[in-house]
Symmetry: C3
Subunit: 360 residues, 3 copies
């Protein structure tokens, strides 16, 4: 059952059958409790799991839910335990979760081999094991690294270079000369290398300034569905190694996103702004152009950022302010109607006093 209490059917294919001992081995786990021959057929959340499913306990908070779970077995790290229930003691719970998905819920390949309908331009450098889905288009002089997979209908522009072991889902558009590192994941509908938004007045009318730079996406970046990342004017818009962008994020031209930044859904960063490493931007944050954000800066949801921010700042609100100031203003704001009443009363009392003084 899902969070609404409805039954869900979300198995990806025919159920897999694995003995508990096999699973333990694959997870480099020890069987803390349970029959090694017990048969497991799926990996599921605590709330959804049935008696032939294995689930997992990531932390203390999950333990209460686990006790009510109908799961047949549990993966759990030290010191979590479920007395009386089959438990695999795993060295690292999220590593175990990844392996359990691999065993019970493997995703079908996004593409395999070179589909006969894929179009490959002239002088394309295709690495060994690279796959192109139906109707994928690779432009002249492009390079696709080994084991990189390009989904159906995706288009790779002339001269674009994509590293190895990348996963480009269906319907992604990577424009000319864009450079993408290794192990990069790009979800459907993302557009990388569209023109930056630059117009200059010439003779009183806005003239489009061609955008002749590029986008560089470093290693291990993940880019969400329907994101847009504009190419720089002459240099490169850059997404630093390990950065993760959620869906519908807009990155304008010349922006520099630091290593390991996390940008939640619908964030927008305006032109030439620089984000340091390890910044975290919650959903729908907007950052203005040409500012400089330090390392490890965090912005709360919907923040409107108009000024530079120092390393480690935590900012909230529109315009974004340091969290302490934001909370102080918010608290004062809630008391403003009351404040109005108190000032009105003060005025009356003072009037009386002044009147009294005059009378005296």
């Amino acid at each position: 059952m899902d969070a609404s209490g409805n039954p869900v059917e979300h198995r990806t294919s025919a159920p897999k059958r694995r003995r508990l001992a096999e699973v333990a081995k694959a997870l480099e786990a020890t069987i803390l409790r349970g029959d090694p021959d017990m048969e497991l057929t799926d990996f599921a959340t605590l709330g959804s799991a049935g008696p032939t499913d294995i689930s997992f306990v990531a932390n203390q908070k999950a333990l209460a839910l686990a006790e009510k779970s109908r799961a047949g077995a549990f993966a759990a790290p030290e010191p979590m335990d479920l007395p009386g229930r089959p438990v695999l003691r795993v060295p690292e719970i999220w590593e175990a979760v990844c392996r359990l998905v691999g065993i019970f819920r493997p995703a079908p390949p996004v593409a395999s081999g070179i589909d006969p309908t894929a179009r490959i331009g002239e002088g394309v450098d295709l690495g060994p094991g690279a796959a192109l889905g139906p109707n994928a288009v690779v432009g002249n002089g492009a390079a696709i690294g080994r084991a990189t997979v390009i989904g159906a209908g995706s288009t790779i522009g002339d001269g674009a270079r994509i590293g190895h072991s990348c996963l480009i889902y269906p319907g992604v558009h990577i424009l000319h000369n864009v450079q993408i590192g290794d192990r990069v994941i790009i979800h459907s509908g993302a557009v990388i290398g569209s023109d930056g938004f630059k117009f200059e007045l010439v003779g009183g009318r806005p003239k489009k300034i061609p955008q002749a730079g590029t986008v560089i996406i470093e290693d291990d970046v993940e880019i969400g569905a329907n994101c847009t990342i504009d190419r720089a004017f002459l240099d490169a818009t850059r997404i630093g190694a390990g950065a993760k962008l959620d869906n519908l994020v807009h990155i304008a031209h010349n922006v520099q996103i630091g290593r390991g930044c996390m940008l939640a859904g619908q964030v927008g960063i305006a032109g030439s702004t620089v984000l340091g490493d390890g910044c975290i931007l919650a959903g729908q944050v907007g950052v203005r152009d040409n500012i400089r954000i330090g390392n490890g800066v965090q912005f709360g949801a919907k923040a409107g950022v108009k000024d530079d921010a120092p390393d480690g700042a935590v900012l909230l609100g529109i315009p974004a302010r340091p969290i302490a100031e934001f909370l102080r203003v918010q608290a004062a704001l809630r008391r403003t109607p009351d404040l109005l009443k108190r000032v009105r009363q003060l005025e009356k009392r003072l009037e009386q006093l002044e009147g009294g003084g005059q009378k005296a």
Copy 2:
């Protein structure tokens, strides 16, 4: 003419010719006034209609505009009338509007038949009358219900199941194992089943947690252009029956949207949040993760929602507050500059009084 006063050319094809009596019959209407043989050629708004067009009067407010309209005839429900002008009395105005569109402005089919360039994987279950446009791709083991239409260049992942009578516009990407009900409409560029945004720290570095659940879209849902709906981690992200999503809406993994919810453009819902039935979210609303919104809750445009909300709540602002509180704070806010002045005056007057006291 359109709202700017410009002439518009928006007829979809050669004009249709229909006698007023024919139209009346198709609408199950009676001719309240007008020549049954009068020829009509198009259906148009009150402002745009010319003497051979039929228009409509939905309510009292439209009556004034109708009187100035050049339309040759009007569809109108009880008790609306336009003395001296041809009027069809219709039982239900919006039902009549739908039929008038069908008569005068039928949309061309999104696809018809199985285009020879469509790619159909192994073991695909294709219902009778299903249509696949040019370059549509249907993955292995997928199922497409009867009379469902898939537009050009759309991709359907392995194992995805789409019900009957659905309309999938060109360039939609539905990923593996996604489940879609009957009579669902999905507009171009929407992505259903992209990975949820889930990273966990392993050895101090964020590790991608594979998203191995799915998305369930129930019957009669409509999803706007370039929306993104992420698959759940292990369970299912769910869009309840009859829910309508406008363009560029982002639904994160594990979210549950209740039946009949209306989400306006650019709304974003973060992970695992649950919306009850019949909620209405105005444009650019953001809802944080892991909260629970009751039934029939309404959020004003741009609201930032960070807390659970009870059934029937009406909330506005960032952070979202009950409407009464929001309006009180807004009113107080506008008076804050004045308040500042009044406090400054109070301080002066008090000082004088205190000074006076000392002198005395």
Copy 3:
């Protein structure tokens, strides 16, 4: 080097070689200083340029940066000069920039000729020099003007009409009967002509009202990546001549955008709203439905617009207010915590006075 100090590789192809005199001629410039035979290989920003690159100085502010630049030559308008360095005196700097891009950084064509995999429907009117990329689809009765280029995988619906010299990037979806003027640029993933979001209660349940109008995009418009522009109910959604939309902008049905408007990333305009000419909307602005915005109105980033606005208004905030009022409220807001303290003190002092008065 880019703004982060990293070396960038963003040349689009083999370096071009041009003598300074050749470049001067192409720019209609005079050589203010420098060897006419000096060889130039690229056009680059002041910060990135090396000794064989030409850069440019647009204004006084750039002069300081130019002095530190390693560029081999500079394009500069009156009165900018760099004593001792090769300078081309150009009549108009942004015109010169466009030409320098054309010389050193020409973009590869988005498509050339009619690709054999392109699908052309019945009765299509294809102008001379029009190009269709791989898997482009043009519906029945559509018209594509001369020299218009349609990128790979883009789909043009039945009866759509596109003018001449347009550039439609890969993966754009233009639906049936949409009308597009001349010299229009549309970036990847944009959807033009999706259904407006219109539901009316019939028998207590929301009924979809078919959207049978169209979208008219006038000459010289540019539309960013993954924008969505909905078709009108019966009339036309209109984007006025010369308007520019950045990425992920949402335009609802029946909206009228005036000539030369600039809409930054992630802006959303709700149904039937009318914007005058020359409006500027900063990032993430939201404008409600059925309002009328005058000519030359400017909205600051993230503004939430709920009321009509007169010509020339400058509005900020949620809800949007005139800038003077907005700034006054913001200033007062920041002082609100302090105000609270001052009122508390006033109350104490007044109590003492009153108490003193009583004692007296």
